[in-house]
Structures are given as C-alpha cells and as structure tokens.
Symmetry: C3
Subunit: 331 residues, 3 copies
C-alpha cells in the first residue's frame, strides 16, 4: 500500500529531512530493499549501509541528522518502533477475498458481521458469531457458540472449541487450539481409574492478543481461563485450565503453564519455561528461558529477572553456577 | 441432562440429607452456580460458601453432616471424586448430530457403526472402521485402514495415520497426530546423508485413554507403539516410536519420550519431562516436572518421586540444591 | 513391492550367500517377519534369532559368513544402513491416487506438475506451484505463491504460509506449520503496547529435508529462514525467524530455537534443547538433550558434545554433577 512520506512521518512522530512528497510502498531490510522501500537504522554504525541501499527512505535516530545523502530521512527517537508503526501503515489491506467461500460450511444460525472473509473448507458451527472485517482461514473449525470479535485474523487449520470468546484485533496462527479440555482427573482408589473432572468452563481472550502456531490454551474446569489485552504468545505454548494471564504479557515459544496460574501485567516469560500450578508471577517479573517455577510459588519484583529450576533471582543463579565451576576446578 | 438427586447419590455412593426427590441439571463451581446446579466442597472451611451459593445441592464430606441448611446435601467420603462421577452422569448426551455430514469425505469401503457422527469436511479413507456411537470432529483425517472403537470422541482437525488402532471410549483433542513416522535414520558415512530407517510399525491405543491437543504419538519403526488402558496424556506431549506405555499412566503437558521407552502402570510424569531412549520407568514411579531421565536408565520404586536432570530421588535433588545455596552464601 | 535379492544386493552393496534369484516383498523386524520378508542383524548375538525367524532373507555383517542356514544372506559392512536402503527400494510406490480429489479446492492460477496427488479437502491457493509426483494430503492448506518441489510428501492438515518454498523430496508430517509469523514486537514505552515488528520475510526448505508432526518453522522477519539440504527435524520442534540451519543437521523432538540462530552442517541437537537468539552452533557439534545454549553463544568443535544449561562440554558438566554429589554426601 502506497503512502506519502509526510503521512507516515505524522503517524509515527518522525521529522522528515528531504522531500516528504515522495511515496513509499513497503518496508524491507537494508540488504533486500528495492526502490520505493522504507528501511530503518537503529545504530549509527549501520547508517552508511542504509544510505548506500536501494531504499527510497530511511528511518534513523538523531545521529543521522547531519548525513549527506539524497535519500529522504525520517528522524525518530526510537527508529525500530517507528519502523514497526510504519510497517503497520504500509501493510496491504484486504488480502483475503470477502464473503464465504463456497466450500466453507457455515451453520444457518451463525451471525456474520460485514466484510467478513471465511476461507475454503472452514467450518463455523451453530450459533457462533464472527465480527466485522474478521478473516477465518481455510480449514478452521469454529465451535458452537464461539464468539470472535472484529478485525481478527484466524490463520488456517485453527480449532476453537465451543463457547470460546475472542476480542477484537486478535491474531491466531495456524494449527492452534483454543478452549480444549483441561487436564484434570480424580483417581478412584477402589478401581485405580482416573475419573475425568468436569472441564466445562470457558476461555476468554481479550483485544489485541496474538497467538503463535500450534499453541494450546485450555478452557477453565468450572471457571474461566483468561488472556489479557495486548498479550503476545509464541508457538507451541501450553496454557492450562483456569490460568489468569494479565495484559501486555510476553510468552516465548514452548513455555508451559499448569492450571490456575496467575500472571500479572507486563510479565515476560522466556522460551521453554515451566510454571507449576497455582504459582503467581507478579507485575513486571521476567523469567529466563528454561526456568522452572514451583507450584504455589510467588515471584515478585518489577523488572527482576528469575532464572533456573527452581527459579531464583538471576544474581543467585549466577552465584550457584560460579560456585560449581570453582569447585570443579579444585576437585 | 436432568437427574434426581436420589439417582445421582446411588451412582456416586453418597448419602442424602434432605429431599432426594429434587432434580439437578448440571455441575458448577460454587461462585458460578445457578439454581438447579450441583456443587462440591472438599474442605470444611469452604462449606459456608457452598451453602450460601445458588446451587440446589452440595456434595460434601462427613464434616457437613450437622450443617443447618435448606440445601440438599450428598455426603461422600471423597467429595471431589463423587463430583467427577456426578458430572459424568449429568453430561449432555448426543451433542453431535448423528450421521455423516454432507461435506465429509468417507470412502465407500469404510465400515461405520451405528449412531456414528462424522463432522463437516472430515475425511475417512479406504477400509477404515469407525465404531458405534463414535464422533469424528470436523476436519479430521482418518487414514486408510485405521480402526476406531466405540463411543470415542475425536475432536476437530485430528490426523490419524494409516493402520492406527484406537479402543473404546478414547478421547482425542484437536490437532493431535497419531501414528506419524518415528524419527529414525542411519547415517551413510560415504555420502554424509541420513537415510530413513523404515517406520512401518503400528500404533495401538487401548480403551479409556484421553489425549490432549496438538500431541504427537509416533507409530513403531518395525514393531508397535502402545498406550495402555486408562492412560491420560496432556497437550503437546511427544511419544516416540516403539514406546510401551502402561495402564493408568498420567503424562503432563509438553513431556517428551524418545524411542523404545517402557513405562509401567500407574506412573506419573510431570510437565516438560524428557525421557531418553530405552529408559524404563517402573510401576508407580513419579517423575517431577522438567526432569530428565537418561537413556537406558531404570527408575524403580512405587510412590518414589524422582526430580532433576539427571533424575534422582527427590531427597538427593533437594540435598544438592541446599549444598549449592550454602556454598553460595559462604563464597 | 517385490524385488529380486540380486537387485537389492546390488543397490545396497551387499554380497549374497545363497540363492539370489528369490524375491522379497518387504522389510520387517525379526519377531514379526513373515515369508517373503527381509530382516537385518546388527550384532552377532542376534544372528540365531534371525535365522530361526520366518524371514526369507537376512542382511548381516561379516560375522554371518560361516553360518549354516537355508536362508539367503546379504553380507554388508553396515547391516543397519543396508537395511534402510533396502527398505527404500521395497517401499510401495504410488500409494496415493493421482489427480485432484473432487473435494479439494485448487485455485485456477495454481501450477500443477504431472503425477500430482491432491487429497480430499486440501486447499491450494492463488499462484502456488506443486511439483511433479508430489502428494498433498487431505486437509492441507498451501498458501498463495507457495512453491513445493518434486516428489514431496505433505501429510494431512499441514499449513504452509504464503511464499514458502520447499525443494524436492521433502517430507512434512501432519499438523506442521511452515512459514508462520515470527515472534517480534517493539514495546512502545508511551502506551506500554507491544507493536508488531513486520514478519514479511520468507521460509526456504532445501531438498531431502524431513519434518515431523506439529512442528513450527517461522518465516524471516525481513530476511529468509533457511533449512539446509538433508536436515531432519522431529515432532513439536520450534524454529524461530531468520534461523539459518545447515545441511544434514539432526534436531530431536521439542527442541526450540529463538530467532537468528546459525547452525552449521552436521550438527546434532537433542530433544528439548533450547537455543537463545543469535547463538552459533558450529559444524559437527552435538548438544545433549534438555541443554540450554545462551543467546549469542558460539559452540565449536567437530564431534564435541555439549550438555547442561548453560551448555558446556560434556566433561565439565559431568564434573559439576560429581562435585555436587560428593558435597551432598559430606553435608
């Protein structure tokens, strides 16, 4: 999508040096840029590369103000952020054909908003609701009574169980499963059998959440599993029943959460982290990759990094590693 | 589904205090209960909350026998287990429309039992067999010659490879893959290439197994991978070729098993556990979350918990952690 | 598929003892072999079992040269490798019906090679290309502009995002997602929101790669994620954006790679390994199961095994474990 540089600069809060009446049509990396592309430079040492590239315009920090160049410069306090915002503006709209694909299976009781796109062989079951401008990819299965908000993108082969609710501007990548039964059983000592504890709660996902590919999020057992507004979840993550995930949380790939975990706003979880049931990770805590948080444990301290299994503040974790290394050399 | 309290009490082995001729129509948590619901209280301290709720009937322990209340009480030795059994009884039957959905693709050679439900856009390939009262969800692909028993629930977008056998009352959640090729190659030193070792065995899953979402279980290389009766497997679990998993085993999310592992009955595996090839985990052993079991290792001892990588009895693991902490403080 | 023993022996480089004009029709394990099957013995102690089996022919090492038997022997320097090559030769061809299944949805702009098989309810979107003799399983979704080479096997319910390229002889197991968006955001300090960094690069997969079930490989952010020729990837693996994976790499189940990792040729990665962003694992390094490689770390040394978190050469890891055990006994 083409945009005037002046228009972009206004949205991203940048100051233009050069001709702001040129148009750009997409973002690129410096090495792959073509004429008409917009690129960015976060560090001064990369500026020359950007100026020598084929790009038409360059987002850069104040370090670029004195640069001698024929390229149009957009000076921003955080070039990387400015680039992300510009990319959003330049993104092609309406990539998906509007309407219901003839091979899709949409129950007659479904409520569809306007400008909806339902892909080939998607299934939308009884009483589900799909909001305005939402895309349901090919092969998705949207269960009975599920509600999906406006402007969502549901990539192919996603399964959404009955009654699950998604807010607006939610992105779900391919193969992900939302609202599946939690893992709860009661052992019958007489028979040795594990009897299924009812998994009849709900899953609610708030606005602006993005969820990666082949991730699984379970519905509540009797209550609600909730993913807060603006939270971003990577691929192959597991979130168990009854978890309460706050807003703007970051969860990297293959992390796994047992049941009934509370995670407050702005938490950051590294890849392959495991969290035991009923643990509470308080606002702004960071948990390093592969760490393990014990059941019922409370981690607190905005900006504090925890590491290791069982997870402890980074300082203690590094001390333990150093002790081991020292002893090893002695021994 | 509505049931008399008297009927429920009989099935779950509870003693009724109050009017056993009222009907209840579903289970709920105490906080979300409505009139007509059945709730449970495991601990005496929560009894008052339950008695103040909107629920019509309460399953509780003997501690509730003297309670002054207008609610109907069902006194059980294990209220949680009684509640799970009651929920099963109250569960709605026949949620899925019987018959083959017009958009499903069922090969003419397929054997279908009675009261089968095949969802939209499901594919059932040559010579497969689907037992009585089994539901195949939308978008599932059941490979050639696969056999699925009676009263199974196969959630949407599951893939079952050719020749895989499932017993009766098996539940498989969305996106799971059963019977895929194992990971086996032989390196050719001359070419440096990894030649595929044949993966032509089978996968057999016995009665009453439940498998979570996006889990993968590989077929045997030349032999059979087997999952024993009553075993419960969580989301995103990986089980490699030739594994022999016993009965009533519990496997939490994201655990992973290499090839040819033997796991005896009543084993409990925590989340994100990894087990090396040819390891043997004997009857009733528990392996804590994120632990790693080395290849060929044998873990034994009913009720013994193993922890850490490499997994060792819990006592030793805790001792190691304490040693590190003490030394760290000295250093 | 039936083959003369003489023909097999020639392809796998074995010397025949006995009648090389008999035919065999498949491979099997010793315990499950039937008449007409070919089996193999890697170690002399198993030779007697093989000779007593129902198999018609036995691949074995030179240790079998003097064996007294009526079975046909194929003497090979590496029986396991010879067996793998023989299995390839004996594998049934054309298992999938040629042509486009009537329920598949193939866009009119798609380029199909000859002898292509497109399964039931598969979707192939605008401008995609499918090479000769390639099979697309039921329920797969091949995105716009994706290119799949010759002789590929794409198992059911795989999702391939737009623009992804696969070479020839590539096998992708069920439920896998190729080319999904990477996990990249820029935090806006003013709003606290995580703005999506553009994920508009590509994913390229070279010839002879095999990828397990429910694995996810992300496209580059602005550049290309690349999987080198002959690399084998197990189930539930996560590979982040911009990763450069070399040739003949082995990656076991549930391993996870953050963004921009370089992995050179012939690397071996154990199950559940985690690798931090921008790490570099040089040629021929082995990383043990569950190890963690820190961001930006460089691991070097052909044939060197690294273990633990943070990953260190195996000798150091074992020393640390021994120190802990010794101290624990003292304490």
């Amino acid at each position: 999508m083409k945009r005037w540089v002046s228009e972009i600069a206004e949205v991203i809060g940048a100051r233009v040096i050069g001709d702001d009446r040129i148009e750009v049509s997409g973002v690129a990396s410096i090495s792959r840029a073509a004429a008409g592309n917009l690129v960015f430079v976060q560090k001064e040492k990369d500026l020359n590369l950007a100026l020598k590239s084929r790009a038409s315009a360059v987002i850069a920090g104040t370090f670029a103000e004195q640069a001698k160049t024929t390229k149009v410069l957009l000076i921003a306090s955080n070039p990387r952020l400015a680039f992300a915002l510009a990319a959003k503006l330049l993104r092609d709209q309406n990539q998906h054909p509007l309407g219901v694909h003839p091979t899709a299976s949409v129950h007659s009781s479904v409520t569809l908003g306007h400008d909806v796109s339902i892909g080939a062989r998607a299934t939308v079951e009884e009483s589900a609701k799909i909001g305005n401008s939402t895309w349901i990819g090919a092969g998705c299965v949207i269960g009975p009574g599920a509600e999906i908000g406006e402007d969502c993108e549901i990539y192919p082969n996603v399964t959404i169980y009955s009654g699950t609710k998604l807010g607006n501007h939610v992105i779900v990548h391919a193969g992900t499963v939302l609202g599946s039964d939690g893992f709860g059983y009661v052992r019958d000592p007489a028979s040795g059998r594990h009897e299924k504890f009812p998994q009849i709660g709900k899953l609610e996902i708030e606005d602006d959440v993005e969820i990666g590919a082949n991730t699984t999020i379970d519905r509540g057992a009797l209550e609600v599993t909730r993913i807060g507004r603006g939270t971003k979840i990577d691929n192959l993550v597991h979130i168990g029943h009854n978890c309460q995930i706050g807003e703007n949380v970051i969860i990297a790939a293959q992390a796994g959460f047992s049941g009934s975990i509370v995670m407050e706003d702005n938490v950051v979880i590294g890849g392959q982290v495991g969290v035991g049931e009923h643990a509470c990770i308080q606002e702004g805590v960071m948990v390093g990759a592969q760490s393990g948080v014990l059941p019922k444990k409370i981690l607190r301290g905005k900006g504090i990094a925890f590491w290791g299994t069982p997870a402890r503040p980074l300082r203690g974790y590094l001390r333990d590693l150093a002790v081991l290394a020292r002893l090893g050399k002695k021994g």
